[in-house]
Amino acid sequence: MNYHKYSSKSGFSFSYVMLALVIVFLFIPLFVVVFFSFNSARGMQWDHASLIWYKRLIFESPSLWSAFRNSLIIALTSSVTATVLGSLAAIGIKWYRFHGRSYITTVSYLPMVLPEVIIGISMLIFFSAVKVRLGMFTIFAAHTTFNLPFVFMMVSARLDEFDYSTVEAARDLGANERQTLTKVIIPTIIPAVLSGFLMCITMSLEDFVITFFVSGPGSGTLPLYVYSMIRYGVSPVINALSFVMILGTMVIAFIFRKFLKTVAASS
């Protein structure tokens, strides 16, 4: 929440220039992609406007859609698992004293800082060592692993601000343990849990490197599929797909923001 509004008398200042530059650098590539998705020609030469690539995308790319379905399934399942486990881990490590507590905290950040290639390779070695067939399940496990530290970190940060005496206050004012959990603890940490969940979804949807190592035949996710498409030349179908995904992400982000606000305001 920001109560301060900075106002500058001159409309043209260093910060405005920087802002404009950042926006240009961030969004020009996206504009290019969106622009060419409506091009009827294959190459980078503008021909005339057409929806042909959208038609191809929607009606003539069954394997793309199956990859997309895989992506969604893995994103949802791994994010839910990581969010539940990560939140509980954060609560447990914050509020309970046990042997090896700080060790666990440190180790749990490892997947976040290790290069993805290393995680990918080590998972591949691990899965083949324990003879698990590569496929949806291994991707799910890998995604859960690299998502977990993010949820853990966000919920931990929220818990650091959390005043434990509010739990005692709730008990003191007549709440039993279940009521304390549902009426005080969960409402206070839910914004962090949801942000963590959303982050998991995004990271899972876009992950390429780790998925590349642990996927098996027929279990490719969308990023893997797009990559394989590009190897046979850039198809404008990818441009069309990009635009669809940009729109989808914006809608989700918008809804989520609204939702977070109402949660923060009313719960």
Binding site: S165, T166, A169, D172, L173, G174, A175, V184
Partner: protein, 376 residues
């Protein structure tokens, strides 16, 4: 009188080898404003948490109106707590915070509305009921915490240094309000503080604690005027305190008049006490700075109950309504004696006393007192 009698008997609580509470017994009367006073770390919060049910004694008992409450969880006890950190629920508004205990009990909406408004009015927060705690000032948060703790109509209100995060002026005002609230609701208040002036100004009785032990229980007047140990004398208000030995003891009106040898003053002092002390006992002699008279000329009366010492003003400190003087005695001891002089009328005593002036400090036998020479 509403409220309950709180009876704490022989309660001990250790953390490892460290005794946070050591055989503590206090009985708090129905409807009393009772303060637990002591320096940081003396175990006040620990005792309060045991009464509230957040902590458990290793031994001893806690009773409300002769009913053992130790087996009850916090939500089943007739006590509510005002926490030092306020402990407001950040996701709820002022109104919802105060209504929280009622909503837990599924009280109907109209009753909730009526009661919340009643308590909001009690703590004067009418203009802020739809704000979140993060938008409130420290004093307002404290009021919300008080209203929230009172709305369940507990029999005991436990307050853990509720004003310590506020500035001095606001603290005074809230303290007076708190006293008025106590008069209105009439329940037992147990008030934890390390600030002796807070405790003295509002309490019916005070328990002075140090290092996990209760040293003295009494009214503010008793604690201030008749401290039982050196620690109590020095902790409550300022004082001059010196080790001494009893030389003689004789009955004097309803008390006893004693001559004591005070090495720090390099002389003998007369002092009265209601209790006779055997000759030769080692004790502490104490006299409060505001009871010591300071003058440029020797005091006229020479009765033997008057103690007079000559000295030089080492350090005059002007502080508005009074001046403090540190007087260095004119003998081998060179002890500094603290003297407070109230400014009642302008130039009342002729020319004012200044730095390096030769002065006489004097006090009567009944203004000094003897306390047990214990390190506590």
């Amino acid at each position: 009188m509403k409220g309950v009698e709180v009876n704490v008997q022989r309660v001990s609580r250790s953390y490892g080898d460290f005794k946070a509470l050591d055989d503590v017994s206090v009985t708090i009367k129905k409807g009393e404003f009772f303060s637990l006073l002591g320096p940081s770390g003396c175990g006040k919060t620990t005792l309060l948490r045991i009464i509230a049910g957040f902590d458990f004694p290793d031994s001893g008992s806690v009773e409300f109106d002769s009913k053992n409450i130790l087996p009850l969880p916090p939500d089943k006890r007739q006590s509510n707590t005002v926490f030092q950190t306020y402990a407001l629920f950040p996701h709820l508004t002022v109104y919802e915070n105060i209504a929280f205990p009622l909503r837990l009990r599924h009280v109907d909406k109209e009753t909730i509305d009526k009661k919340v408004l009643e308590y909001v009015r009690l703590v004067q927060l009418e203009d802020h009921i739809y704000k979140k705690p993060s938008m409130l000032s420290g004093g307002q948060k404290q009021r919300v915490a008080i209203a929230r703790a009172l709305i369940n109509e507990p029999s005991v209100l436990l307050l853990d240094e509720p004003l310590s995060a506020l500035d001095a002026k606001l603290r005074q005002n809230l303290l007076i309000e708190l006293d008025q609230i106590h008069d209105k609701v009439g329940i037992t208040f147990i008030y934890v503080t390390h600030d002796q002036s807070e405790a003295l100004s509002v309490s019916d009785r005070i328990a002075v604690m140090n290092k996990g032990k209760v040293l003295q229980i009494g009214t503010p007047y008793e604690i201030y005027e008749a401290p039982s140990t050196r620690f109590v004398a020095q902790f409550i208000g300022e004082t001059n305190s010196f080790p001494c030995t009893i030389l003689s003891c004789e009955p004097y009106e309803e008390e006893y008049l004693m001559r004591v040898q005070v090495p720090a003053l390099n002389g003998e002092v007369s002092v009265t006490d209601y209790k006779a002390q055997p000759v030769g006992t080692q004790m502490d002699f104490t006299v409060r700075p505001e009871k010591v008279r300071i003058s440029s000329n020797p005091p006229r009366s020479t009765v033997k109950e008057l103690n007079t010492f000559k000295g030089i003003v080492e350090e005059p400190v002007y502080s508005g309504f009074q001046s403090k003087f540190y007087v260095k005695l004119d003998n081998e001891s060179s002890t500094l004696v603290k003297v407070f002089k109230q400014h009642t009328a302008f130039l009342e005593d002729g020319p004012d006393i200044e730095w390096k002036d030769t002065v006489y400090v004097s006090w009567t036998a009944s203004d000094g007192y003897l306390v047990k020479d214990t390190a506590r």
